[in-house]
């Protein structure tokens, strides 16, 4: 530790101008900085990518070969059904990890620093969510590639596939706010994991992701119809298989927007109040 030199001028209070709250531009810049931190972290802990690499590979192949014949008569006929389903499922598992990792992160000392800095309270939450787009992108890309390798030939063409891919990522990012909120209220990462599982399983399996909803009992169909995951799956199917921008796409986007509008403010409020 060297002694200070004269160039370190005296600290004055009077020459400071204090802002009562961060501006939108500052909030965005801080979010990007926090996202940068998350990508650094991902690069140094590559195991964070296990769930978005191994799961799409495994589940796509497994589900297609096991259920293909039973549900659609053949694996090839099942692929247009299952690929969008797996896309939605992996997006959901990936964003579950967003909440768990946030919880883990919040227990670390550096979050004290973030809290003590004059930065927007949403930045430490939105930053990781932004960086996690990489994870959703990886999951979606791999699922589609495995499908193609298994003989899936999407009718929507390149544009349709790209649109479905993009919608998956948007949906993942939006639903991640549910788990981010859980991350800010739960006591431990394990608790987030437990609660997330309880949310994720009904949302994915009580949807049209793996089976046509017409085969389900009436009462279950009622839930499946309002499940936002069903809308995302239908929308992705419409885009990838037919290249059509249907009403389902609008519903899916609306559902995502509603989730963000509810859970993002809840998460920020609970984060700002805690600790």
């Amino acid at each position: 530790m060297t002694t200070l030199t004269a160039e370190h001028e005296t600290v004055l209070v009077e020459d400071r101008t204090l802002a009562p709250r961060p501006t939108l531009a500052e909030t965005l810049s801080q979010t990007v900085s926090m996202a940068w931190r998350s990508t650094k972290k991902m690069r140094r802990n590559p195991e964070q990518f296990f769930d978005v690499t191994i799961q799409p590979l495994l589940f796509t192949a497994m589900f297609a070969y096991i259920f293909g014949g039973a549900i659609s008569g053949s694996v090839a006929d099942y692929l247009p059904v299952i690929i969008p389903g797996i896309l939605a499922q992996t997006a959901l598992t990936a964003c579950m990890a967003t909440g768990i990792q946030l919880r883990e992160d919040m227990d670390k000392g550096v979050f004290d620093r973030f809290k003590s800095l004059p930065i927007a309270r949403i930045a430490p939450l939105a930053g990781p969510a932004l960086a996690d787009l990489l994870r959703y992108g990886t999951a979606a890309t791999l699922t589609i590639l495995v499908g193609l390798a298994m003989g899936y030939r999407p009718g929507g063409g390149v544009l349709g596939v790209l649109a479905g891919w993009a919608l998956t990522i948007v949906a993942g990012w939006s639903l991640a706010w549910i788990f981010t909120y859980l991350g800010t209220i739960a006591r431990s990462a394990q608790a987030v994991q437990g609660i997330s599982m309880m949310i994720m399983f009904p949302l994915t399996f009580l949807s049209n992701a793996f089976v046509p909803e017409s085969t389900l009992p009436g009462w279950l169909q009622a839930f499946v119809k309002v499940n936002p995951v069903s809308h995302v799956v239908s929308a992705v199917r419409d885009l990838i298989n037919d290249g059509n921008v249907t009403g389902e796409v609008a519903w899916a986007l609306l559902g995502c927007a509603v989730v963000v509008a509810i859970f993002a403010p809840l998460a920020v409020r609970s984060y700002a109040r805690k600790m």
Partner: protein, 346 residues
Amino acid sequence: MTALPSSLAPTALADTDLAGTDLAVTATGLVKTFGSHRAVDGVDLEVRRGEVFGVLGPNGAGKTTMIRMLATLLPIDGGTASVFGVDVREQPHMVRQLVGVTGQYASVDENLTGRENLWLFGRLQGLRSARARATADDLLERFGLTEAADRQISTFSGGMRRRLDLAASLISRPPLIFLDEPTTGLDPRTRGQMWDTIRDLVREGSTVLLTTQYLDEADQLADRIAVIDRGLKVAEGTPDELKTSVGSSSLQLRMSNEADTAAALEVVRRVLGEEPVLTPEHGGLNASLSDANQAADVLIALRQSGLSIAAATVQKPTLDEVFLAITGHGTDEDTTTPDLTPEATR
């Protein structure tokens, strides 16, 4: 670095009516409760600009809780607090622009290198990328971390982490710096370096509010000290005032023959004109001295009375004694810290 980025809305502090105040921190009746436990139970605090204010107390006294409330890290349950006249509860964002916080546990990112950490904190506080890099380089050099700058924090020693943590608190050159037990767990050499750094900060015009468990640290650094016990402020004053209240040093005696204790007590009282305290060990007693040379008078008087001693030690007052004198109970009562000397910790 002279000012915060111009993009911030211009609420010049000089314009507010409290800018003229010579107080960096004002707290009145500060309260924090955790369930039924009142961790901070109505503390008043006034820290003047440009001073080092020490908050002294044992583990669990409420020091950290108090600092965390003042630094906007914990909600204030009762009372009011302001930093340079800015209300902590009403304007947390403004207060955060005025303070730097270095906690007991290094609040830096384990996954990043030292340089990346400082760059990130600079960026978050509105510095442009190049400026953030330059500031990071400056601070790394100033804290002797240049060589380790590109290593991940997980490879840093405790002292290096603490230095980096302090460096991170200085990026925006905050006029008020909170240091929560800045030297707990550091070896004596690193401890001395940390003290030098804190003195330098004050020379630059910063105000420092530090907490510590060590009387010598408060003695070395602080202009004024508040003693906190069980969430209450039990004493306040300059280090000299505080020490005078317990005597400049203390004489610890142990009699060879336990039966002599009562007689020895009488002798000590006669020589010092003050009541000695019996200590838990057999035949032990403890007397405070206003001058260390009085110890000789006591020993001579004991010899003349034919009382034999097994051991005699003259010690500077320890935190325990300050506590005993001020609160009537030792520091280890109700706490889990059996020994508060720096060498014994960690």
